[in-house]
């Protein structure tokens, strides 16, 4: 088992790192303070192919492996959690399901512009009554002639109002499963601007404040029959499988946040003097950093392993769940400790660590809470 990265991956990392330092980092504070969506950054990333890293070249992507994509989200998140999640949601939750389940026509029409970054993607599963209980869906889609008619709403949608292409889940009927009637859920591709598709509240969040988080409202929204994604009734499976990939993206975001916090803290404790010495000379500080670094290293290995599993295995739910569970909890712990080690300065918005801590919290919640991840992992252990 070789833990060294290939030269290509090392070079890719240095590319992402350089871009993050030069283009993303200078804006991170402002994006957070003003809750402004970093549209210019997204356009720069689009030009460099960052919005289609794992998409095959024939569909406008870069044709790289999931590990390269994970490293991109990781490096971006080291300096800005918002920018990391924009790429993650777009790639894992919109490009990926269309790549996996889309017809050739759908790939030509949607995947190519998404991979080139000409269009931004989003994923609408969550509803006010359906978070962890995804089956609690109420949004309906009814076939009327050549069109599906959507009614309902989705909430907490990342890339909300900024996206152009949305993968939306809705109930298309009922099915009998083991003697019980359950909801038949299907997946659809919906374009922004479709009559009947409007936006509701913009959420004011604790962290990733530059991320556009919106309610999506469908009122007799008519979409072409061809926009059914995958087979009718297979929507729930599509959602779950898509989230497995999304979890790798979020795990990478959490990993990046933890690494960014750790790096900036190490630099700080070398310079900050109290009692005539750098605080990095005190054993309490040293032992804290040792623990933080070890956990971050472990998180990185789980994230990379999950990414490699996605490249080589058909099913990688457990690897993804473990990576997301662990990386998110490490991110929360490390960013919180980072603020503490900065003392009073850690609480001041001019320093990056408090933002990293606020950004980290959501990684324990979205794309499957840590509780859900535990369900997935224990479910596979005890089957």
């Amino acid at each position: 088992m070789d833990f060294t990265l290939s030269k290509e991956h090392e070079m890719a990392r240095s590319l992402f790192k350089e871009f993050a330092e030069k283009e993303v980092k200078p804006l991170a504070q402002e994006v957070d303070e003003t809750e402004a969506f970093p549209r210019e950054t997204v356009e720069k990333m689009a030009k460099l192919g960052f919005l289609g890293i794992p998409v095959p070249k024939e569909y406008g992507g870069q044709g790289c492996d999931p590990l390269t994509y994970a490293m991109c989200v990781e490096e971006l998140s080291k300096v800005c959690g918002t920018t990391g999640v924009i790429v993650s949601a777009h790639t894992s939750l919109c490009c990926d399901p269309i790549m996996t389940y889309g017809t050739e026509e759908q790939k030509q029409k949607y995947l190519i512009p998404l991979a080139k970054g000409e269009k931004l993607g989003a994923f609408g599963l969550t509803e006010p009554g359906a978070g962890t209980d995804a089956q609690g869906q109420q949004t309906k889609a009814v076939l009327d002639g050549d069109e599906w008619v959507l009614n309902g709403s989705k909430c907490f949608i990342t890339n909300g109002k900024e996206a152009d292409v949305y993968v939306i889940f809705a109930i298309t009927g009922t099915v009998e499963k083991r003697g019980r009637l359950t909801k038949e859920i299907s997946a659809f591709i919906v374009e922004k601007g479709t009559p009947g598709f409007t936006f509701g509240t913009k959420e004011k969040k604790m962290g990733i404040r530059g991320s556009s988080t919106y309610e999506l409202i469908f009122t007799d929204c008519r979409i072409p029959k061809e926009n059914l994604l995958g087979q009718q009734g297979k929507g729930f499976g599509i959602a779950m499988h898509t989230l497995d990939g999304g979890r790798i993206g979020i795990a990478s975001q959490a990993l990046g946040l933890a690494e960014g916090a750790l790096e900036t803290t190490i630099a700080y404790v070398k310079e900050r003097k109290q009692f005539g010495r750098a605080i990095g000379a005190f054993q309490n500080t040293q032992f804290q950093l040792a623990d933080m670094a070890t956990k971050v290293q472990a998180a990185q290995l789980l994230v990379y392993k999950a990414a490699m599993a996605k490249a080589t295995q058909k099913v990688y739910s457990v690897e993804a769940a473990m990576a997301k569970l662990y990386a998110a909890e490490v991110a929360m712990e490390v960013t919180t400790k980072a603020v503490q080690l900065h003392g009073g300065y850690g609480y001041i918005r001019e320093y990056d660590v408090e933002r990293m801590m606020r950004d980290a919290k959501i990684t324990e919640i979205y794309e499957g809470t840590s509780e859900v991840q535990r369900m997935v992992i224990s479910g596979s252990l005890l089957k």
């Binding site: 070079m11 460099l48 192919g49 870069q62």
Partner: protein
């Protein structure tokens, strides 16, 4: 149109030097990068490629590790990479270096050669003009803008207080300033493609029309008599004087240090 770009892998001396605990320079901690002036030259070549469909070949002379900058250049869009590496070429000053690079370039077809003005480790700005001398072609240094017009280049050549707009017939050599442009980033796909390409590796034997007497440490007319690294800055002098004496003190120091 065929363009040859000369690039160099250098330690990142501008990125912030690190010091060992004893105050001496920590060379091992320095990352290596593509020399900034060279990167600007490469970007200029890639823009000419975008505009006119030129073929861009990058050449570097160095240790085997220098392959990394060739791959980086190819990931940015260069078509071919050539690594010139050989034990006997080591320890070269600018004369021997330019002789070596010219010897390599003689094997290639080119309309334009672009080099960076200077490298951030040697800081001499000599190799570019010296290569042009060895190849007997015109040189335009300190380019702040490059255009192509038919079989000529039109270059804005920078001086301290002005610039000349200069026209030269190709083949010629241009040295680029890092202010020339904002180099593009690599693309993730470009990186993997670059590593799939075949790299040309040349040694002493592949150099054309060069004399061993002009290569490597032995072939370098300038010799290092002594060299020492900078030590980390610590506290200097501190004086408490009346205002007039303070002023004299400062003026004096500025004169000694040739600031005025």
């Amino acid at each position: 149109m065929k363009i040859v770009v000369c690039i160099k892998q250098v330690p990142d001396t501008k990125g912030g030097v690190k010091f060992n605990p004893d105050g001496t320079l920590d060379r091992g901690a320095m990352l290596t990068i593509m020399n900034p002036d060279d990167k600007a030259g490469l970007e200029a070549a890639l823009r000419l490629k975008d505009q006119y469909g030129a073929e861009v070949t990058v050449v570097t002379m160095g240790l085997p590790k220098a392959e990394e900058v060739l791959r980086e250049a190819m990931a940015m869009g260069a078509d071919k990479g050539i690594l010139v590496t050989d034990r006997v070429l080591g320890g070269a000053d600018t004369w021997a270096t330019s002789t070596t690079v010219a010897g390599a370039i003689r094997n290639l077809e080119y309309d334009l050669i672009i080099t960076g003005r200077q490298a951030i480790d040697g800081d001499t700005a000599q190799v570019g003009p010296q290569i042009s001398e060895h190849l007997d072609i015109p040189v335009i240094s300190y380019a702040q803008d490059i255009k192509v017009e038919g079989d000529s280049v039109i270059v804005e050549r920078q001086y301290e207080d002005r610039y000349h707009v200069v026209k030269a017939k190709m083949p010629c050599l241009i040295t680029a300033l890092s202010e020339l442009n904002e180099p593009r980033y690599m693309t993730p796909g470009g990186i993997f493609d670059a590593y799939k390409k075949e790299l040309t590796v040349w040694g002493r034997a592949d150099l054309k029309d060069v004399d061993d007497a002009n290569l490597g440490l032995k072939g370098s007319p300038t010799k290092i008599a002594k060299a020492s690294d900078k030590v980390r800055k610590g506290a200097g002098e501190k004086v408490t004087l009346d205002p007039d004496e303070s002023v004299s003190y400062i003026v004096d120091k500025l004169k000694v240090k040739h600031v005025i």
